[in-house]
Symmetry: C2
Subunit: 380 residues, 2 copies
């Protein structure tokens, strides 16, 4: 997800909700430098398509069950794309102008952990199936659910915020990685797409029904977003494949919507898929042009993200071994020239130049914009 934005200097200062009739659609809140008794503030908004976040008593309101996954043996790219994508799905139901984002407060950590665990005598609420005692890949019951995350969408209620809606993401496995013995070799149980979808939808109804019983949730709309984890060897995260909405206090999902997303890695290695071949060609032209710039440029790779078959974003990482500041400045200028010339014109683009010292420079263009922003990280 790209989050690039230049904001007006008008949109300064902490937006005190007491002084705010409605959340401004331009991100311009009422400025107040005087202290009021109300302790709820928001982070401010850098772009229309971003939610403001909740600050309480001067601190960001962190989640009760942040980034909870079944085990740590997962692809790091999954967590980033899962959390990011969840906000994007939420925008279909909760407009960024009308709702304020709050990290999940209703699903407690211990509860979420029980839900992620297998069902058992001691854990009746487990959403993953009981252990059937088998260890063969095809005979055992795999873990279908890998991670769960709640996001709250708040509306203003006088001087306070009240819950206006909720999104819960369920990250489903296409492959369940398991050990037959502790610290043993890792085996894989593959899960068919159909099975993953049906398990996800079934769990979604259970989650809705349980959340309705959770104190404070009430009858707000609940969105359940289903995410397919990328495999552990993937260089890109997974994608959402469906979301359902429970309205008017319903205990199940009223309506399901398909989400058509895909992620790829460029350049294509072996028989891997590349998405649209014209986009892949654009990247190849860019890569070839850029790689010849310096004698010692070591790698140019990209992640691409598709929505409904159209390229929506491309993240390019360039690894370099050169250090001179003037070289990096010149290279960054050249990247802008080459990006304008070769890269697809509609999609969001993020290019970072990395060295062993960290990020040296970056070039980016938001979706729908015509100009690239570039920055070389400096030091005095």
């Amino acid at each position: 997800m790209k989050r690039i934005s230049a904001i007006l200097a008008l949109a300064v200062s902490v937006v005190l909700l007491t002084a705010c009739g409605r959340l401004g659609s331009s991100g311009v809140g009422t400025t107040s430098s005087t202290k009021t008794k109300t302790s709820i503030q928001t982070t401010g908004q850098t772009s229309d398509d971003e939610y403001q976040g909740v600050i309480q008593n001067g601190r960001y309101k962190t989640s009760k069950a942040r980034g909870l996954t079944k085990d740590q043996n997962t692809n790091g790219a999954n967590l980033k794309s899962f959390e990011n994508g969840l906000q994007t799905i939420s925008q279909k139901q909760f407009a960024t102008d009308d709702y304020i984002f709050q990290e999940g407060q209703y699903l407690k950590k211990a509860t979420a952990q029980n839900w992620l665990d297998r069902k058992s005598k001691s854990n009746a609420s487990g959403l993953n199936p009981e252990d059937n005692g088998q260890t063969d890949a095809d005979k055992r019951n795999p873990d279908y659910l890998q991670a769960i995350e709640e996001q709250d969408y708040m509306t203003q209620d006088g001087n306070n915020l009240k819950l206006g809606g909720m999104t819960i993401g369920l990250a489903m496995n296409q492959v369940d990685y398991y050990q037959k013995e502790e610290y043993g070799a890792t085996y894989e149980t593959k899960i068919s797409h159909d099975k993953m979808v049906s398990e996800g939808k079934s769990m979604a109804n259970k989650v809705v029904s349980r959340m309705r019983k959770t104190e404070g949730v009430g009858n707000v709309p609940i969105v359940i977003a289903l995410y397919e984890q990328a495999t552990n060897d993937s260089l890109v995260g997974g994608t959402f494949f469906a979301y359902g909405i429970s309205k008017d206090g319903g205990k199940t999902i009223n309506e399901w919507h398909d989400v058509n997303e895909a992620n790829y890695v460029l350049p294509v290695v072996g028989s891997a898929k590349s998405g649209n071949s014209s986009d892949a060609d654009s990247f190849t032209n860019f890569k070839n042009n850029v790689q010849s710039f310096f004698p010692n440029l070591s790698g140019v790779t990209a992640q691409t993200h598709y929505k409904d078959g159209n390229l929506s974003g491309m993240n390019i990482t360039i690894n370099t071994q050169f250090y001179s500041e003037t070289e990096i400045k010149s290279f960054t200028q050249y990247l802008v020239t080459a990006a304008n010339k070769y890269l697809p014109s509609e999609a969001a683009i993020e290019i970072t130049v990395q060295s062993t010292d960290g990020t040296q420079a970056f070039v980016a263009r938001k979706a729908g914009e015509k100009s690239f922003y570039s920055h070389v990280f400096g030091s005095y």
Copy 2:
């Protein structure tokens, strides 16, 4: 130095100089996608106050003696600020619209190495003084010159580029670090500011005289910029203190100009200097506000850069331990709000959010601009 810029999409494609009457002041060059026989191209320009760089046969023309310093025992911040500042000094003589930047091509690596070394029977061209055999800090002859760097400024000559001017930076020591025996303890010889200045100016004349004899240099203006290295324990680089110009083929500097720059680190530790106290207070307010946002924010530090007593730039680094994407997004929005509210309004600002995984987000405002640009680094 801040190098933030959004360029027009018009300024696309490699600017072929054959098709270019004069270097456009807006960075908009003539676009040509057809191949010509001319192999000289430029990198393109992302901002009016940046030089375009030279590309020859599709490759960036790297320096003959890149980043050459007397030894590796130096503060890394020095090299960055030395190279960057050299381009800033050059702009006083060579306008970015009229000249194209080329990494130094005339001073060969072996020659530069000899100049950096001590004068001796085997090295008559050494700019540093002869070893007098003493090892006491106050009795020995210190190394005054630590690093040397050439930058070329090119103009168009028909289908080719010709040398239009040259800047050579001399990085001078305020402290010379030395060992009495190989791999032994490090000792320091302090050098007075006056001595550093007089040695630097004397070396500048020698360098000009030698460059005039170098094939291809001819009578172009030569700028010699004198830089004072920061000490090895400094968290910020050094500063330029003077530059001189040799015009019309002269063999010495015709005129010297003082440069009034200073760098500081915030928050102030112990009895260190802070620059302008109002700027330091602004930073402290920003820091206090931002540090309370998350329970586990570990550090907020800044480098400040002053020109003629005025704050020209502030680079803020925030080290974090949180990882959630939504947390980083909310934090970045909050940073923009806090930066608008607390940080000095005129200076260039760069804020980077770092974690052990690298740069997570950044917020920046170019000098003289009113709005902040923000970006959270994403992953699909």
